[in-house]
Structure formats: structure tokens, C-alpha cells
């Protein structure tokens, strides 16, 4: 089969990660990368790909099948629309767009131009998450009762310093940046969220943006979930720290999720299943069995690009398309809204 030809737009923190990933993959053609900052030229050349300062020039000159877009959120729609109009398939970094209206317009422009729109919720490509989904959806823990998610990672002071002072402003905080991943995980593993309520606080850092959030969710099918999230407490508990998926984060091997079912419980990312072996000896006075779940680790970013290529070639469907990613964004924004209004939000 002909190699898929890909380009990259945006070479910031996450864009660079995509560039490194694509440059390592032998079965694709990483044609070119672009960024408005000329300083990224060197990186592009080191990774063996052409560099453009103008993405428009890149998509006009280069013959490509698809692009990975990793630009600031408010540019997702204009850049995505320009690429769609050129007939390029899109892997858009999360969130799909800065707001729901932009997401709708992007979905529409992709549809009109008959290109695939896939969204970079890369965790869906992590084999740990896939296995957790199979366990929950496959009924291996019986009927799902509830879920708990903990995310307590301390953002260092530098994280908020220039040029990143926007991270202390509304919209730049852990709900939009970090929590969206947790929401997408729950949606992917369990299903849609039907009702939620959030207590949102900025009292620890006293920044305009939130630092701590407590959430109750109801999931289609009846299960309920709690998420506790803070970016201001030393804990090293949270997906990034616990999975070891991105070693920028100090790897602390504790559990951050528990999925509770009627027949079993799974802890994540320890991937242990707890259950009573004998139905006659099931209950709080009896010892519980513990069983490990074997998983072959694989880099989710590589698998994500591979899925994108399969989508372009027509052999695979996207793990998360525009419509699905819009729902994740809608739930995330609703959490912010619930925190502001003090009222639950229903879907």
C-alpha cells in the first residue's frame, strides 16, 4: 500500500511530540511541518522534514493526504477549515475547538469537503485505556456501579510565568486543559454523561482561574462517578504521573482510577481486578481476591497516527471523530458552567 503523506501545523509542546512520533514511523511519509516561529526550522530539519513558516504555503505546495494540527485552540477552526477546503484529512489536537459553535462549524466544513476529522484525545489509543474499556463494556466486572477519578498534580510556579500568564486566567486552567482528558476517558470507557454538578474553587492560588474541582456525574445506564481534581497539591496522583505515558511527569506508580462493578473492581493503571471467588462467601466479612491483568504497553501517540493513516486509507474508523469530541468538550464546558451557576447541568 502507498505510504500515507502527512504534514504538521504547529510545533509547540505537543506539536513537537507529534513531529518526533511521525519522524520515527517508517510506514508513513512525514512530508513537512510548519510553525510561525522560525526557531522550529532546526527541529524540523533534524527530524528530516521540510519546514514552512506559513502553513498555507505548505498545504499549497506539498502533496499530502492529511495534516496534524497542533495550534492554539482559537485557531483550530480557521486552520482546520483551510485544510479541509484543500481536501486534507485532519487530526486535530484536543479540544476540537475553542467553543461549541466553532466545533460545529469545523464538523460541518469537514463534512462538506468530504474529509475525515479525527481529534487528538490520545489516551483512547493507550492499550491500558482500551483494555479498561473492554473490561467494563464486556461485563467483566458485572454491571457498572460507579467510578472514582483522582487527579492531584502540582503545577510548578514556572508553569504560570510569562509567556504562559494566560494559564492563570479563566479558560487556561485545569478544567479546560486537564479535566477534558478525564471526561473523555470516562465517556470512552463507560458512555455518555447525562447529569453533572461541580464545586469549583480558586481559593488556594487566588488566581482568576480555578485550581480545584469536585464533581459528581451520572452516566447513561445509571452508574455515578466522582472526579476530584487539583493542580495545587503535592500528590503525584493522576493519569500523567501514574501511567508513565509521558515521562516529563515524574512517574509515581499509584492508582488514580477505580471502576466499581457488581462483580468486580478494577484499579488503574495498576490494572488489578478485585472480586469474590465464591458467591457464598461474598461480602464485607470475607477476603477479596486480586488478579493482575496483562497488558502490552505501546506508545499511544504512535498508535494515534497509525489510526489516522488507517482512516485516510479507508481501512479504519477514527477512535474519536468530531461529533464525539464535541460531546467531550460540551461536558467539560458544562462543568465550568455548573461551578459558576451553582446548579446541576443536564444533557
Amino acid at each position: 500500500m502507498k505510504k500515507v503523506r502527512l504534514g504538521l501545523i504547529g510545533m509547540g509542546m505537543i506539536g513537537k511530540l507529534h513531529a518526533e512520533t511521525m519522524s520515527r514511523m517508517k510506514d508513513i511519509e512525514f512530508v513537512a511541518a510548519s510553525d510561525t516561529a522560525a526557531k522550529h526550522q532546526q527541529t524540523a530539519e533534524e527530524l528530516g522534514t521540510k519546514f514552512y513558516q506559513s502553513y498555507e504555503e505548505m498545504i499549497a505546495k506539498e502533496k499530502m493526504d492529511g495534516v496534524v494540527i497542533a495550534v492554539p485552540n482559537e485557531l483550530h477552526l480557521p486552520v482546520g477549515a483551510a485544510c479541509a477546503q484543500k481536501g486534507l484529512h485532519i487530526l486535530m489536537e484536543k479540544p476540537i475547538a475553542a467553543d461549541l459553535e466553532s466545533a460545529d462549524r469545523l464538523i460541518e466544513v469537514a463534512r462538506l469537503n468530504k474529509v475525515h476529522l479525527m481529534v487528538g484525545h490520545h489516551r483512547r489509543h493507550n492499550p491500558l485505556i482500551e483494555e479498561l474499556r473492554n473490561i467494563v463494556r464486556g461485563g467483566q466486572i458485572g454491571k457498572l456501579v460507579g467510578v472514582t477519578v483522582l487527579w492531584s498534580l502540582y503545577k510548578p510556579k514556572d508553569y504560570f510565568k510569562a509567556p504562559f500568564t494566560w494559564r492563570a486566567e479563566p479558560g487556561g486552567g485545569p478544567i479546560r486543559i486537564n479535566l477534558i482528558h478525564e471526561i473523555d476517558n470516562i465517556r470512552y470507557i463507560c458512555g455518555d454523561i447525562t447529569r453533572l454538578y461541580a464545586e469549583v474553587s480558586n481559593e488556594a492560588r487566588q488566581f482568576p482561574v480555578e485550581d480545584t474541582v469536585s464533581i459528581s456525574l451520572r452516566i447513561a445506564g445509571g452508574a455515578v462517578a466522582n472526579i476530584f481534581l487539583t493542580d495545587t497539591a503535592p500528590g503525584n496522583i493522576g493519569y500523567e504521573a501514574n501511567t508513565g505515558e509521558n515521562l516529563f511527569f515524574y512517574h509515581s506508580p499509584v492508582d488514580c482510577y477505580h471502576y466499581y462493578g457488581t462483580e468486580g473492581v478494577v484499579s488503574f493503571p495498576g490494572m488489578k481486578k478485585f472480586f469474590y471467588r465464591d458467591a457464598a462467601k461474598a461480602g464485607w466479612q470475607f477476603p477479596l481476591c486480586e488478579e493482575g491483568i496483562k497488558i502490552d504497553k505501546e506508545d499511544p501517540y504512535t498508535r494515534q497516527i497509525r489510526n489516522f493513516c488507517g482512516v485516510i486509507q479507508g481501512t479504519e474508523t477514527p477512535k474519536i471523530d468530531g461529533v464525539d469530541a464535541r460531546k467531550t468538550l460540551a461536558v467539560t464546558l458544562a462543568i465550568q458552567k455548573s461551578g459558576e451557576t451553582g446548579q446541576p447541568v443536564l444533557f
Binding site: 456501579v145 460507579g146 472514582t148 483522582l150 492531584s152 502540582y154 503545577k155 510548578p156 510556579k157 508553569y159 447529569r195 464545586e199 474553587s201 481559593e203 488556594a204 485550581d211 480545584t212 474541582v213 469536585s214 464533581i215 459528581s216 456525574l217 451520572r218 445509571g222 452508574a223 455515578v224 462517578a225 466522582n226 472526579i227 476530584f228 487539583t230 495545587t232 497539591a233 503535592p234 500528590g235 503525584n236 496522583i237 493522576g238 504521573a241 516529563f248 511527569f249 515524574y250 509515581s252 477505580h258 466499581y260 462493578g261 457488581t262 468486580g264 473492581v265 478485585f274 472480586f275 461474598a282 461480602g283 464485607w284 466479612q285 470475607f286 477479596l288 451553582g342 446548579q343 446541576p344
Partner: protein
């Protein structure tokens, strides 16, 4: 040592073990016990305690200083008032009463008759809870930003069967029976709760009573928290499944609470504090240091009854007095109300 003379009213699930424990408390002289059911006579006399079928006869005849009320919740207030009028200090099993109005009546009667109320939230006497309170309130975690509690376990089938089938009905479930302990722990360790929200479900057991709840809390000090509660899942992530304080239940050595502050977090009951040792190396890209605490475990019930004796003697004030016990009840009832209305409830 001066011993205080105690009577016990009610010899059910709580009263029976209380009788055994009271015999071991050096400050207490358990003189007599009362229960409407004659079947408890042999047990009581076997412990060398006088038995009465009528508690009013007991408090009239015996020269008592205090009583322990371990009767059904709806009787806490009427029996408590009768005893208070006799000038007897009250140890009231949790919850203080079946609702806030009845708690108020009981508190008023105690105050008029100048007797103390101690509410039986025995976990406040757990060495683990005492230490957690010292760590959180003492500022060892910096400013408390939030917490997460899990109470997930499987109540076995027979728990809900036969004479105990009232537990299937509204009010007999994990919110009023079990969650109230978690709420009291939180209030004691972290401070007052001012707003609650709960998503409550009975979809697993399909009983009238709830089986699962996902709760959100806001504290007066600005901290927020989540409490996940379920009695229908095979889990040891609960107070019972981790602390070993209930000898009838199986426990492992995991954690059921996490407290998060600006300077550190605390895993409970492993009692591990996680923090960054070097301020220049603080952040998600650095390792956390883990520190343990040495704790001497003591039986919380013995400590609780010793404390009751000292309350009667006037040398200590109640660790959980009537008003305090009423607040724990009010928060728990607010959670139930939120589950029913689907709306957050603010506590006055």
C-alpha cells in the same frame, strides 16, 4: 479511681457489644441494663449486671449518674428526655435523633436539666482519626484544598434479609447508616460543611433505599471534596475495609481517604504524607517524598466510654456534644434531600 455508675438502655446490635466493652472500662461501673426483650436477661446477668425490662424502673431504682442509649433512632429523643429529667447524663448512639427537630428537643431537655450529651460517633476516638485531625488542622498539609473519600464495599445478601429487611426501605440504607460516620469524620478532621450535592442511585439492588451515591461537598474553609459511596461492589476501599476497626469485617491495608493541601497530601489510613522536600524542586515533574507517622492503636470504644465517665465527672467536655452531633445529622439528611430533589443543598 472514682467510678461512675452507668445504666445501658437497649441490648440490640450496638447495646450488646457496648455491655461487654463497658465491663473493661476502668472508669465505668455498668450497674444495670434494660431491654424490652426478656431474651437478653441471661446475657446481662452473665456479665454480672442487673437486668430490667422497663428502663423507667431501672432509672427509678438504681442510683445512676449516666445512661447509654442504644435504642432504635426514633426512641432517642423520648427516652433521652425522660433520663435527662432524672438528671442523668446521656450517651446517645449515633445518630443523635431521627431528625433535626427531635435533636433540638433532646438538646433543650439536656440543657434545662443540666446534663451533658455525648453522641456515639466512636470514630472520633480512633487514634487514626485523631492523628489525621492533628495533621490537617495543624497545618501540616498547608492550606486544605480538598479531599476524596471512598466507601465502597459489598454488604452480603443476608444483610438485607429476614428480620433485617427494614434495611431495604428508605432510611435504612448506606446514607443514614454508614455515610453519617464519614460525614462526622470529615467535620471533625476538616471543619464545617456548608454545601452538599448528591447523585443517588438504587439501580443495582433495586430496593427502595439507595445503594450508591456520588457526592460533592464544599467546606466553610473553602476546601471542596467528593465522597463515593456504594454498598454493592466487591471492594475493600472503605473505612471498614482498610482500618481494621471493625473486627467482624475483613480488611486489607489500602487507603480510603485522601486529603490534599497546598503543602502536601495525606493518604489515610496508611497515614502517609506526600510532599516536596525541596521548594526549588516542587512540581509534577519531581518526585514526592513520603513520610509515615507512628500511631499507637487503642480501642476507640474504650476511649469513648472513659471519656463519657470524665464528662460525667466534669473533668472533660464532650468531644461530640448534642449540637455537634446534630450538625453531622443535618449534613447527612441534606445529602439525602439533594439526592431526592436533584439540587444542591446549603446548610445554614
Amino acid at each position: 479511681m472514682e467510678k461512675v455508675r452507668i445504666g445501658l438502655i437497649g441490648l440490640g446490635l450496638m447495646g450488646t457489644p457496648h455491655a461487654r466493652i463497658l465491663k473493661k472500662v476502668p472508669e465505668c461501673d455498668l450497674v444495670a441494663a434494660a431491654d424490652v426483650d426478656e431474651k437478653h436477661k441471661d446475657f446481662t446477668e452473665g456479665l454480672g449486671i442487673k437486668f430490667y425490662r422497663n428502663y423507667e424502673e431501672m432509672i427509678a431504682r438504681e442510683s445512676l449518674q449516666g445512661v447509654i442509649l442504644a435504642v432504635p433512632n426514633h426512641l432517642h429523643t423520648p427516652i433521652g428526655i425522660v433520663c435527662a429529667k432524672k438528671g442523668l447524663h446521656l450517651f446517645v448512639e449515633k445518630p443523635i435523633a431521627q431528625n433535626v427537630a427531635e435533636a433540638d428537643r433532646l438538646i433543650a431537655a439536656a440543657s434545662e436539666n443540666r446534663v451533658q450529651i455525648l453522641v456515639g460517633h466512636q470514630r472520633r476516638f480512633s487514634s487514626l482519626v485523631e492523628k489525621a485531625r492533628e495533621i490537617v488542622m495543624g497545618g501540616e498539609l498547608g492550606r486544605l484544598v480538598g479531599l476524596n473519600i471512598t466507601w465502597a464495599l459489598l454488604k452480603p445478601g443476608p444483610y438485607y434479609e429476614g428480620p433485617l429487611s427494614w434495611r431495604k426501605e428508605k432510611g435504612g440504607g448506606p446514607i443514614l447508616i454508614n455515610l453519617i460516620h464519614e460525614i462526622d469524620n470529615l467535620r471533625y478532621i476538616c471543619g464545617e460543611i456548608e454545601e452538599v450535592y448528591a447523585l443517588v442511585s438504587n439501580k443495582i439492588r433495586n430496593f427502595p433505599v439507595e445503594d450508591t451515591a456520588a457526592i460533592t461537598l464544599r467546606f466553610s474553609n473553602g476546601a471542596v471534596g467528593t465522597v463515593f459511596l456504594s454498598d454493592c461492589t466487591p471492594s475493600l476501599t472503605s473505612w471498614e475495609g482498610t482500618t481494621g476497626e471493625n473486627p467482624l469485617l475483613f480488611h486489607d491495608f489500602g487507603n480510603c481517604y485522601n486529603f490534599f493541601g497546598t503543602e502536601g497530601s495525606l493518604l489515610f489510613p496508611q497515614m502517609k504524607r506526600r510532599y516536596y522536600a525541596d521548594p526549588a524542586k516542587s512540581g509534577w515533574n519531581y518526585p514526592v517524598t513520603e513520610q509515615g507517622y507512628k500511631i499507637t492503636r487503642e480501642d476507640p470504644y474504650i476511649k469513648e466510654f472513659s471519656h463519657f465517665a470524665r464528662v460525667i465527672l466534669g473533668t472533660e467536655t464532650p468531644r461530640i456534644a448534642g449540637e455537634d452531633g446534630k450538625k453531622t445529622l443535618a449534613v447527612t439528611l441534606a445529602i439525602k434531600e439533594s439526592g431526592e430533589t436533584g439540587l444542591p443543598v446549603r446548610l445554614s
